[in-house]
């Protein structure tokens, strides 16, 4: 059966309550009559034979020779792949990366290539654990490469294993993983969950150092990316593309493989989350009640572990290989086919329910900074054309926002939250006053390199990710959040959606237009 596209519903008397994600829980909210709800598209049909499609892509790439023609005995081959931040939630085995990497390795073996290294392209994210690597690349690949030190996490702070390639015409320094830079062929394996992913961002960001990343992961870039889901209006992408040009000119041959997934996000018993409320069957309603009630009585730690164990039934909808830019065009079109929803006009108030996960809390805690990043960074930027909410409008997000941090994964976040945000929430001031000291802190550097910590500068990037929204919005209200944590973020807490809407009226005036982003499954609002 063909999927139903995303659409905009206008709430009337017969509209059932609307589902809001709320961390490791949900809320059903009755939106005022006349409100709009933007629903995502249903899942696209997956590729019937994904392994065959992958092989086909490798043998018939776009604007590039077939992969077998690029593989020669004695050559140095590096396969880089997206890290634990993709996809969300993690997908059921076999992960797409495993399928693709196995196919590439088969061809490499056939060609007699024996100098092969696999690198998790994690930039300044935390290192992947063995379990996470096994999940991504599969046991067979892991066991063949990791014990011999041929499968490892990229280290953006290892001066001995970084290669400086030069500067872009705008003076941006390009420094990436030395092994990748010195290989005869660099194969990059992507999972393009959203349109921001992939392209030159894969290599120029995923394999880069702080020295290089700081040129596009900064406030100015983010404020000039409108949005970073739209490559053509994204300074983040422009910078990465300029860096890609430096990579190309320095002779690095990149064979890009990009895969797309459908919107099949939640397995049973959470599959009601991806249905429209009026489509809920009696069983779905029972599931909602049962899940919600039991979650209410579940300690937060256990709740977190239940949610983090969710494995999405995502299936592959497309795979393209070859030249970076040519491949990325096809990929972006496929992502938009799944996620783009036309929306007419902006809104005074945008509501959204934030789920339990974002790219940076896999097997971890969604701390308040990540709540900000998910809401104002990611969800706010899920638009093409204009932001869903008008300039000076109000964003209402629903999330418990606990004052809680994962001490191993997010040590610098704790200090950022306690020390930096206590002083200022202004991204420009934060960048100017604090970034360098965090980025160059030896302790954070040590933890990033040897433990499982995000880089010292990472919480800054999370804050910068929301810089465009902070500049654009007239106010941010968090429903059901820890008031102290919410205030530390510079936002206003509200107990209920009704309270939040009343508070928002103080900013946008009486009788505001309201739009709810019914997300995830993911959607990108194409706002005219």
């Amino acid at each position: 059966m063909a999927h139903r596209p995303g659409f905009v519903l206008e709430v009337d008397r017969s509209t059932p309550p609307t589902l809001f994600h709320h961390g490791e829980g949900f809320r059903l909210e009755k939106l005022p009559i006349g409100s709009r709800v933007v629903y995502p598209s249903e899942a696209l049909s997956p590729l019937k034979h994904p392994d065959a499609a992958i092989r086909e892509a490798l043998l018939h790439p776009v604007d590039m020779e077939p992969l077998p023609a690029l593989l020669k005995p004695g050559m140095k081959l590096t396969i880089a792949f997206d890290d634990v931040s993709l996809p969300l939630p993690k997908m059921r085995r076999p992960d797409v990366r495993q399928r693709v990497i196995e196919a590439v390795l088969d061809l490499a073996a056939e060609a007699g290539v024996d100098d092969v290294v696999l690198i998790a392209a994690l930039a300044l994210h935390r290192r992947m654990t063995e379990a996470e690597l096994r999940h991504a690349v599969g046991d067979r690949v892991y066991d063949a490469f990791a014990p011999r030190g041929l499968l490892y996490n990229h280290d953006a702070e290892d001066p001995d294993n970084l290669a400086f390639l030069g500067e872009t015409d705008k003076g941006e320094e390009v420094e990436i993983n030395k092994r990748a830079a010195e290989s005869d062929l660099l194969v990059y394996v992507n999972i393009n969950l959203v349109s921001m992913d992939g392209g030159w961002k894969s290599t120029a960001t995923g394999l880069a150092s702080y020295r290089s990343l700081r040129h596009h992961h900064n406030v100015r870039t983010m404020q000039h990316s409108r949005s970073f889901m739209d490559q053509h209006r994204s300074e983040l992408h422009s910078s990465n593309w300029r860096m890609g040009e430096v990579l190309r000119k320095s002779g690095i041959k990149v064979f890009q493989i990009e895969t797309t997934l459908n919107n099949d996000t939640f397995p049973k018993p959470f599959d009601f989350l991806q249905k429209r409320e009026w489509d809920w069957t009696a069983r779905d309603r029972a599931s909602y009640v049962a899940v919600s009630k039991s979650l209410e009585r579940t300690p937060s730690r256990l709740k977190r572990s239940i949610f983090q164990s969710i494995e999405a039934p995502h299936q592959m909808t497309g795979v393209n290989a070859g030249d970076v830019e040519a491949v990325h065009k096809l990929t972006t079109a496929k992502v938009f086919e799944q996620q783009l929803v036309p929306v007419s006009g902006q809104t005074d108030i945008l509501t959204m329910g934030l789920p339990y996960i974002c790219p940076y809390n896999v097997h971890s805690i969604m701390n308040p900074i990540l709540v900000m990043c998910l809401g104002l960074g990611y969800f706010f930027n899920l638009y093409r054309g204009k932001p869903l909410v008008r300039e000076g409008g109000v964003l209402i997000m629903s999330h418990p926002t606990p004052w809680e941090f994962h001490p191993v994964h997010h040590p610098s976040y704790i200090d950022f939250f306690e020390q930096v945000l206590a002083d200022t929430t202004d991204p420009i001031e934060i960048e100017k006053t604090y970034e360098k000291s965090f980025a160059e802190d030896e302790w954070y550097r040590h933890l990033y390199r040897t433990s499982y910590a995000y880089h010292g500068v990472h919480p800054f990037y999370m804050w910068y990710w929301g810089a465009h929204a902070l500049q654009h919005l007239g106010g941010v209200i968090v429903v059901g959040g820890d008031p102290k944590a919410v205030r530390r973020l510079g936002f206003k807490p509200a107990s209920t959606l009704r309270d939040a809407l009343e508070m928002a009226e103080d900013v946008v005036g009486r009788h505001p237009s309201i739009t709810h982003l019914h997300n995830p499954p993911l959607l990108v609002a194409d706002v005219s």
């Binding site: 306690e418 965090f438 302790w443």
Partner: protein, 375 residues
């Protein structure tokens, strides 16, 4: 005359200790402190009657009231005594004065002076239990002199400091605590320092320091004032470890910082604060104890291994007391007086002082200006 009198009564000491352990300031109810009518104190030549206008309630007073003070003090106080050593009052001729309460050799008529007094370090006087005055390390702990929590007390010529005309009573009553802060600040030689505690003493230390200050403050009002007094960073007690680690570029071994602050000034004096100070100070650094401690149990392994110096800072010299007027004026410390009470409401006053931070206050004082007996 009307006075709050602290009497020697073992059952009441015990009751105060129990009540004080339940909640700070609760020792006032069952303890040895009582509002009484007593004869005014009298001493010989050189002593003057002072009629207190404002008299502050200090942390050491609260500790005494709650039965939490060390037995160390027993031989250097004399009972019954009238507390109150932060005093601005009037002489009989109407001159407004602040009392410098240390009862050192010269005040006691001890001749020759002890070695410390001979050097001008009257705060280290070795004769506070000798001479023609009953034992008492300070006015407010001595039977003979009386104290500020009354309508009349005595002060020696050498203890009197005329209050400048531009000083309000609130400013004047802050001179004594400011002198404590100044004395502690004078001992800090480092250019960067952590100050634990932002009650009155912590804040006066911050006000007097000429170094980069990282302050630990528990309550919002303390944080605001600490910033206004010049602290460059102010944080909650639970955040200080992270702040120090980052500021001084320390690594960590387990939960222990490898480096730390060159100096930590402990203005609390509890076991927890002393332990925290030892955890925050850099190897070879100094922990300066300004808040009055008592019997504490702490792990000194780090002090030994990291060669940390543990120093005390008590009271002030005469010169520092003089200079404290300038600190009060420059830093507008009169604003630290948050609430005043008449003597009749002494239990409310003590409760308020004991819960000052939580209740948004800093210095609580008795206001004697409207006492009938005084006027």
């Amino acid at each position: 005359m009307k006075a709050l009198v602290f009497e020697r009564s073992l059952p009441r000491f015990a009751a105060a200790k129990v009540a004080g352990a339940l909640a700070p300031g609760r020792g006032a109810g069952p303890g040895p402190l009582r509002l009484k009518d007593i004869d005014p104190p009298s001493l010989g030549a050189g002593w003057h009657r002072v009629r207190p206008r404002l008299a502050g309630i200090c942390g050491s007073d609260l500790s005494t009231i709650d039965g939490a003070s060390s037995r160390y003090f027993e031989p250097i106080v004399s009972f019954p005594f009238v507390p109150g050593h932060e005093v601005v009052g009037d002489l009989d001729d109407g001159t407004r004065v602040v009392v410098e309460p240390v009862l050192h050799c010269a005040v006691r008529g001890v001749d020759p002076l002890c070695p410390s007094c001979a050097l001008g370090a009257t705060n280290r006087c070795e004769r506070v239990a000798f001479g023609h005055v009953e034992p008492g390390l300070q006015t407010g702990f001595c039977e003979d002199t009386g104290g500020g929590w009354s309508t009349s007390m005595l002060a020696h010529d050498l203890q009197l400091h005329r209050v400048p005309d531009d000083f309000t009573d609130e400013m004047a009553v802050m001179v004594e605590p400011a002198a404590c802060g100044l004395h502690a600040a004078d001992q800090v030689r480092e250019e960067s320092v952590v100050v634990l505690g932002a009650g009155t003493i912590g804040l006066t230390v911050i006000a007097a320091l000429r170094a980069e200050v990282i302050a630990v403050a528990k309550h919002p009002v303390q944080r605001d004032v600490a910033r206004s007094l010049g602290a460059s960073t102010v944080c909650d007690p639970g955040e200080i470890s992270g702040v120090v680690r980052r500021r001084y570029r320390s690594m960590m071994v387990g939960t222990q910082l490898t480096g730390g602050a060159p100096a930590v000034v402990d203005c609390i004096g509890s076991a927890a604060s002393l332990q925290q100070a030892l955890e925050l100070v850099a190897p070879g650094g100094t922990v300066l104890v300004v808040g009055m401690p008592s019997t504490v149990s702490i792990d000194l392994t780090g002090l030994w291994h990291r060669e940390v110096r543990l120093e005390g800072a008590y009271a002030y010299t005469h010169g520092e007391f003089e200079r404290a007027f300038d600190v009060v004026r420059a830093k507008e410390l009169g604003r630290l007086v948050s609430a005043t009470y008449p003597l009749d409401r002494w239990k409310d006053a003590i409760r308020h002082a004991a819960e000052a931070g939580r209740r948004g206050a800093i210095k609580v004082a008795f206001d004697l200006r409207n006492e009938k007996e005084r006027n």
